[in-house]
Structure formats: C-alpha cells, structure tokens
Amino acid sequence: MKWTILGSHHKTWVPLLLVFIGLAVIAPFLDVYFLYILTILCLNVILATGLNLLTGYTGQISLCHSAFLGIGAYSCTILMIRLHLLAGGLIAGCAGFLVGIPALRLRGLYLAMVTLGFGEIVHLVFHHWQGLTGGPLGLKVPTARIGPVVFKSELSLFYLYLFVAFIFVILARNLIQSKIGRAFRSIAYSEIAAQASGIDLARYKTLSFALSAFYAGIAGGLYCQLLKYLSPDPFGLFESIQYLTMIVLGGMGSIIGSVLGASLLSILPEILRDFKDYQELIFSLLLMLFILFMPRGIYGMVRSVFRF
C-alpha cells in the first residue's frame, strides 16, 4: 500500500525549537488543567513521531501501538529501577522487533491483521496475568524520579515530558535526514529498487518496527507517571487507532505532521468532553474522511497550498 509520504524539510528544527521554548516559558503561568492537556500532548507527540517512522516513512501498518505504550508503562512500573524510563523503552523496542519479523513477509492488510492480533494479545495479557500486572485492578505507580530529583508537581512533570518529547522529535528528524530515513522511504516506494540499491529490507523493516515501538515504550514509561494506578484500559485497539489517526491527520511521513496531528488530537478529546460517548465515532470518522479526502494530512495541505 503506498501512502503519500511528505518527506521532511531541512529547517524542521527551527519551528520545533520555537514551540519548545514557547511552551517552557508559559508553562508556569498555566493552570493545572491546561498543563495536564499539554503534558498529554507531549506524550502523544512522542508516540505519533515514532509511529510515523514506521507507518509514514517506511509504509508499514501497525494497529498495535497502544500495546507498545502499555509494555513500556508496565515494564517501568514493574521494574522500578532508576533508569526505568529507558528500560520501558528498550523492552517495548524488543517487542517491536519481534513484531517486525512477521512484517518481513507481509504487506498491507495481512500486516495490519498481525499487528491487530498482537495488540489484542498484549491487552489480554495485561488483563489476565494478574501476578505480573495486577489484572484489571492494576498496579500502583511509584513517583517519578531521576536520581535524586523527584518529580512531584505537575509543572516539573510537564518539563520532563516537554524535554523528552523535544529530544525524541529531534532525534527522529536526524534519523529521517540521513541514509536511514532515505532507506525507510525507499522501502515504502519500491522494495525491489531499494534492495537493488543495497538496502537490506529485513534489517530496515525490523529497525523501523523496533524504533517506533521504542518511542511508544518511552512514552509509556512517561505515561504511567500521570496515572496513580496503571490498568489495562488505556492500551486497547481504539487507542491504537487514535494514534494512527494522529499521523493521518497531521501528515504521514512528516515530523511536523506528527507533532501537529498529535497536538490537535490531544486537544480534541478535551473539547469533546461533553460528547464522551461519541468519541470513538468522531475519531473513526475523522480517520476515514482524511484517508479518503486529505491523505496528505493537514501539513500536507499546507505545503501544497504554499508550495514548499
């Protein structure tokens, strides 16, 4: 399946740095509610950026990214070691690598089905392996800390999330603007030509899966800090579709698109607070409409209108 991949600009980091500084400056003046939304926004940015690496750039579908988020969250909570954030990311990354292996032989619909299956299995494991995950009641999450620094206030947590999001987005952009990014995109456009150019398909496809799962795992490690109790609820199919919607809306194959889509769809549920029951409907509708009529996403539209 050939998505419309936008490709990133060289000056991507400039607007991102401005937004980062802007948010860092105004954060102390925001009330808890807005801060919470922005914190979730940072988390979604990390996840969307990682997902875009896989789906937007390499053209591999994944319907199980909330599973990687969950693996990251649960790993961090269960392990409770110093650098648990990184551990969560790495464990999720390994899971991503494993999912990447069947991806080597599957395309499009079949790949989607495998990832769907994986996501559901993980969700069931969270639910039923009571000894490890505490089942439906979940686990209590310890307070976040890096060394002696304890993140208790909402503001300090926000700064942590903002910083991590910024770093990871820049790292993604660096990857994209390198031979790795070019290899990813070439795989999406023509596997046969990519291979003829010396690109090891197996290596890059599994790298793409592992990398995007790693991103989701890092986001998971951060996410569990926001919740007092970690339960299987936030890691289901609907959430995976939400993340896919973010990159479709924002712009697939674009770092700025990831940030844009994640931002918009972090704010949307808050606006739709009163229509909580219709959330699933609205998200699914948005996804369908964009795929049908605006496959390049919002950022793609902006670029074609302003011709850059």
Partner: protein, 262 residues
Amino acid sequence: MMLLQIDNLVKKFGGLTAVNDVSLSVAQGQIHSLIGPNGAGKTTLFHLVTRILKPDFGKITYQGINLLVAPPAKITSLGITRTFQTIELFSEMTVLENVLVGYHTLIHAGPLSSALRFRGFFAEENRAREKSLEILRVVGMEDYQKDRAGSLPLGQRRLVELARALVIEPTLLLLDEPASGLNLAETNKLMRIIRHLKDQQGMTILLVEHNMRLVMEISDQVSVLNHGVKIAEGPPSSIKNDPSVIEAYLGSEKKSMGNEEC
C-alpha cells in the same frame, strides 16, 4: 577471465520454463546486449543475476566468485547495479534523494550515529551529495535535483534511474530496456552516455534492449534469447543476418510474407 559467467541456468515458474539451460559469458569492459522477443526470459535472467530470483539449476560466477551465495542486498557492494524495465523510482522523493539512495552502501553511519550526528556523519553526507550531483551532471539532470522524481517525463526518469545505478561506480551495470519509450534525441543521448561509461570508465555493461539500432551500434557482443533458450550469439554483424534470429522475431509471418530465405 570473464567478468560474469553464467552456466546452464534454469528457472521455472510452475509449468513454464522461463530460462532454459542458458550459458553466457560477459567479458570485462565490453557492452554485451541481450535481445529476443517479449517473454524470452531476458528480465528473468537479470533477476537471477541480481539474486531477486533463485535459479533451479546452474551457476553464476562473478569475478571468479560464486554469486549464488550472495543475498540480494549484497549485490550492490559487489559492484553490480541495475535499472528496471518498469522504472522503479522513488516517486515522491527528489531526484537528488533517489541518487543518494543509490549511494547507500558507501555510507557507513548506523542508526545511532545518524540520530546523534557523530563526527563522521556530515563528512559522509557531504561526500554522498557531491558524488550524486556529479553523476547527475554526467546524465544531464543536475538542474532537476530538487524535483519530485515522479513528476518528470519518462525520458528524464530513465536518466534518474541510470544516475542512481551509476553513483557507486559499478563494475557491472545491468540495463533493462533503457531506451524503452525514448525519442530519437533521448536515445542518441543514452548511447553517448553508455559509450562514455565503457570508454572512459572501463565499465562492463549488460544490456537488454528491443531498439535494434542502439543494439547494433554500441554492442561488442550480442546474445539472442527466445522462449528461454539462447539461439544465437556473436558480434552485431553476425546477428543481424542470422536466420534463426530473424525467424524468432518475425515468426510465421515470414513464410506468409515470402521474403528472407525459406
């Protein structure tokens, strides 16, 4: 020693034998053309050499080494590159980016050093860029470097694909119908480029073509395939008048037309 030695190659697809006991020798520094009617097995032969397909029987030796143990992605590092009959460009990437992908195996930065931009990163990227622009200049596509590859007309897309195959300075270049769809001026330009590659760079070129003028004018050696079998081989002059070749192309029409020999 032959640069590329193909011995008794067989490839079957179910009941169809696409390549039937074909042996071929490509000498270093020569332009060797492979001709034959559609479905003769020429592209299949290319796929076998570049390891996209595995043969059912036979040997392929390149520079004295057995090519059949190499995985497809390794072929480029051995100095073999190719173009495709159907032009496999990365359509949404720019012309320059397409050529940069061709340079992939010569960039050694891994994911970590690319993400963190370690020391060697920029040096390698700049070298890749320089080389890519140089090759684009050779094929005359330098001005189009920022254009989306898919937006270009056919002739120019073929040149971009050629540039992508040339950027790592291959020892053996496989061209699959490079002149297909080109007009007279474009074909002449292509011939000039191919001759330049052979004369100035000593490149060995294996060429599949239907354009007889091109084949006869630039080839050192021509092999003819029909229904997966090699039916003739030799310099262009001997192939031109070979009755079995003429028969292969014209088929039973020859008898009803009443020309050539009966």
